[in-house]
């Protein structure tokens, strides 16, 4: 990196984006072919989504799942982007 590069905006760290995407896809594919840890994950994801949708009308795409490793344990982080104006719950 030269002097002039300092003034350019640094692009996002794509390596960490890659690692993050792979953590998710590898976990999903491992559970799909019955390997390793939680095969309840896709079902849990669906059920959590259903519960949230009882109260807030969120788009299924607005759910983001991250798995990170902290020390020995894994942390499952689920973030839901709520719509700007709260829509009334779906009837029924």
């Amino acid at each position: 990196m030269g002097l002039f590069d300092l003034f350019r905006s640094r692009p996002k760290n794509t390596a960490s984006v890659a690692a993050e995407r792979l953590r998710i896809i590898v976990m999903q594919e491992r559970s799909a072919d019955g390997r390793g840890s939680p095969d309840y994950l896709p079902m849990m994801r669906r059920e959590i989504l259903e519960v949230i949708r009882k109260y807030v009308n969120v788009d299924p795409e607005a759910i983001d799942i991250h798995v990170t490793r902290e020390g020995e344990g894994e942390v499952l982080e689920l973030s839901v982007a709520l719509p700007e104006k709260t829509s009334p719950p779906v009837a029924g």
Binding site: G2, N13, A15, A19, R23, I25, R69
Partner: protein
């Protein structure tokens, strides 16, 4: 006791044949009797990387189909006495390899006192790849620090854990190692490439070695000399380290950290 090692990856072009050739040479250089077999029927290339393409008379499929003896088909390396190459056939018949045939060749190699048989797998998850891994005691999964290669490697890990003789027998299964190739420490330092720890954590298996991206790999294949024999090249040294680890020795990982640039280089760029 013969150990069967498969060198596999799922994705093509990541360095399976380069790695098979260098690992075979490295083990043979340590006095082990080694056979390296090309399982890529129809797309033979190990002979070129080993530099013995003009000496191929009979191939793996000829042996399996009883058209010659195993002894006739094994090509003795000109550099190392204890190293033999078994070339793939260039036939277009996809079913030329059979499980029984492969098993027969492997057990004959065991009877002949080979210490190691390296199975150079084709890319993909078709018959050639599944036969290359089926009888393995150990698997070396070659992976580039790149999304599609890492994902495909994980598919291969799944197959190793289910579609191999050791998996079917229960017990401890196939011992698995990662071999990272085309590693570029500068790009890792810049955040443009996943690091060895990222890949290791995602796939959850131990790393046997990290081979840096190196001009030496191409010049080695150009001349048919496995890169491990180029002792001046960083890739060659990294393969030698990986072979040592395979033999149970401890070696620190080299070539994983970016070279520190001098002040002038940092100011003016490189």
């Amino acid at each position: 006791m013969t150990e069967i090692i498969v060198v596999t990856s799922g994705k093509g072009g990541v360095g399976k044949t380069t790695s098979s050739a260098s690992l075979a040479v490295g083990l043979a250089r340590r006095g082990k009797k080694v056979a390296v077999i090309d399982f890529d029927v129809g797309l033979r290339n190990l002979d070129l990387i080993m530099g013995c393409e003009r000496r191929v008379v009979y191939d793996f499929v000829n042996v399996i189909q009883g058209e010659c003896t195993l002894k006739q088909a094994l090509i003795k390396d000109k550099r190392i006495d204890t190293l033999y190459v078994l070339a793939a056939s260039q036939t277009r018949d996809k079913d030329a390899l059979s499980k029984e045939g492969v098993e027969r060749v492997l057990s004959e190699l065991a009877e002949d006192g080979f210490d190691y048989v390296i199975c150079d797998s084709p890319a993909g998850i078709e018959k050639g790849a599944s036969l290359a891994m089926y009888f393995a005691d150990r698997a070396i999964v070659v992976v580039n620090p790149e999304v599609s290669s890492v994902r495909d490697s994980d598919r291969i890990l799944g197959l190793l854990a289910s579609k191999t003789r050791r998996a079917e027998q229960g017990g401890s299964g196939v011992e698995q190692h990662l071999l990272l190739t085309r590693y570029n420490p500068e790009r890792v330092a810049n955040g443009d490439m996943m690091g060895v720890n990222d890949v290791k954590e995602i796939l959850g298996i131990e790393v046997l070695g990290v081979i840096p991206e190196s001009a030496g790999v191409l010049t080695a294949s150009n001349s048919g000399v496995p890169v491990i024999l180029d002792e001046a090249s960083d890739a060659g040294q990294a393969y030698a380290d990986a072979v040592a680890r395979l033999c149970g020795e401890e070696r620190p990982m080299r070539f994983v950290d970016a070279q520190k640039k001098g002040l002038l280089a940092r100011i003016f760029g490189s």
